[in-house]
Symmetry: C2
Subunit: 314 residues, 2 copies
């Protein structure tokens, strides 16, 4: 297989060529609910029916670590002021004899209350309280993870500062976070091209406005409407229509990979992302170091005027 670092400047979608493996949509991901999480929220056409909402809630609860029975029971209880094992079993399809176990786990998690009468009656904790409890729980876990890991790190000295490293990441959230980090670290110049308005989050806008005080900020868009949006949100930036339309290209069929974002900071680190046609999953490649192959390509693109104001407004 050809190493991507040695490629000459591309004439068709960058990510594909630079890192073909990213394109095959057949990653053996854990076939679990988790996958949807990193992507965007499931597309909703029109209004959700109640049934949909409930199914949805059950799914999310499982993602949050509950078992199927537990999730069903909680959702069942959410529709009742109070319920018995029998009622619950009937409405949730959970075998009655298993309701008790499920409820006990839920109680231990702080999600339901039990009335120890006979028959026992159960009720869900008020929704706000429940979500707050879940939040607290996860916040606690993340914190413990942080504590456990930040004390350790770095076992080896094998820090190949090699200049040819190109890394792949995926997941919208992760790529957003990396984008944020890079913008924050930039000291000279930021060149950003956005391929879709959904990428222009509040968080990102805030960071850009923070950054604009210290660095040159060039932001490109693929469409004029997006350019306007950006210019409004980040008034002090220089915006332009990207010369990268070819990323959608002549053969821009519907299930063609779309450009996500391109970020070049201080002419030494670059991040290019694309959005998978089917899953809408965002995938990115990332390189750092002035001499890095990817970065060199990006600089070359700039030199050719593809990453600067070709048709500057104002």
């Amino acid at each position: 297989m050809k190493r991507f670092q040695t490629l000459t400047p591309p004439i068709s979608p960058l990510v594909h060529i630079l890192c073909p493996k990213l394109s095959d949509n057949t990653y053996p991901y854990r076939e679990q609910t988790n996958l949807r999480i990193t992507g965007e929220h499931p597309v909703r056409l029109g209004h959700m029916t109640t049934t949909d909402s409930l199914e949805d809630a059950i799914e999310v609860l499982q993602q949050l670590g509950l078992k199927e029975y537990e999730a069903r029971c909680f959702v069942g209880l959410s529709r009742l002021h109070t319920g018995t094992a029998k009622q619950l079993s009937e409405m949730t399809e959970v075998p009655r004899t298993r309701v008790y176990d499920a409820i006990r786990v839920l109680e231990a998690q702080g999600l339901v209350e039990i009335q120890h009468s006979s028959p026992q009656r159960f009720r869900a904790v008020p929704l706000d309280e429940a979500t707050e409890t879940l939040r607290d729980q996860y916040e606690g876990r993340v914190e413990r993870l942080h504590n456990a890991l930040d004390s350790v790190e770095i076992i080896d000295g094998d820090e190949e500062k090699s200049v040819q490293q190109v890394w792949a990441m995926s997941g919208r959230t992760a790529i957003e976070n990396r984008t944020d980090q890079l913008i924050e670290k930039a000291s000279e110049e930021i060149v950003l091209v956005l391929g879709d308005e959904s990428l222009l989050t509040e968080e990102l806008v805030a960071r850009l406005n923070d950054a604009v005080a210290d660095v040159d900020l060039l932001i490109g868009a693929l469409t004029e409407s997006l350019q306007d949006q950006i210019q409004t949100a980040v008034p002090d930036a220089t915006t332009f229509i990207s010369g990268l339309e070819w990323l959608h290209g002549e053969n821009a069929s519907e299930d063609e990979t779309a450009i996500g974002r391109l970020l070049l900071t201080d002419r030494s680190t670059i991040l290019v992302s694309s959005i998978m046609p089917g899953s809408k999953e965002e995938q990115a490649i990332f390189g750092e170091g002035f001499g890095n192959g990817l970065v060199v390509i990006a600089r070359r693109l700039m030199a050719q005027g593809l990453l600067t104001a070709r048709d500057p407004k104002q």
Copy 2:
């Protein structure tokens, strides 16, 4: 079995008598890691070794939804700048051929980056970025849960406003949240007794100071030192030494259930919690309504001077 609502005022630990089922420590909880979560953080004596930290991190990651291999791989990578499948397999005990799958899942979750060279090299996303990604992920899930459920609710009209309902809950976080809610809702009077200083969280102090503007606030403690602490933290409250010492009682052996908190708001809702001797798990019973049996008992305790200033300072 006697119904607890019909009991006469107790002369030994309230929670036990009122709700004996709470006492048996043999709940068939899911024998999973989750249990520790609702309780307090594992007790740390002295300093953690690095190995401990790592084991810990692996455990927490699994609680956060990763599988064992995934967790081990991530922790392994956290100790390296960069690693290959072989290296990882050696240091983490994960079979080499399974490292690839694990890493791909991690990558999809935004926790590691992959360098598509040969051999492939992996590296963990910087810790702050990783935790932020996890946070975002869970925040998203909780939000989706909220959306899915708050539109629905209430299927039946069977709202027995019965006055004799007493509910059991457990889990420190859940009980804290309920305490907060009750304090916030109180409009006249709050009587609070704390059995342990660990229960006097910042959050609680803030809420109490908020509340003190609108309602009478009486706070009791089991020890003088705790009373002082409270008086300092919430200057406008009236504090007292609780007449409930008997809750620790003459037969206060070491593995005796300890009083957690007692909260009576507007003389119409009450929450009493205890702390399990072994697991330190907090369990509570909760009743509402002026005529509620539990609440009546609590009012009687007050009338006897057990829940008011017996030996008021100042």
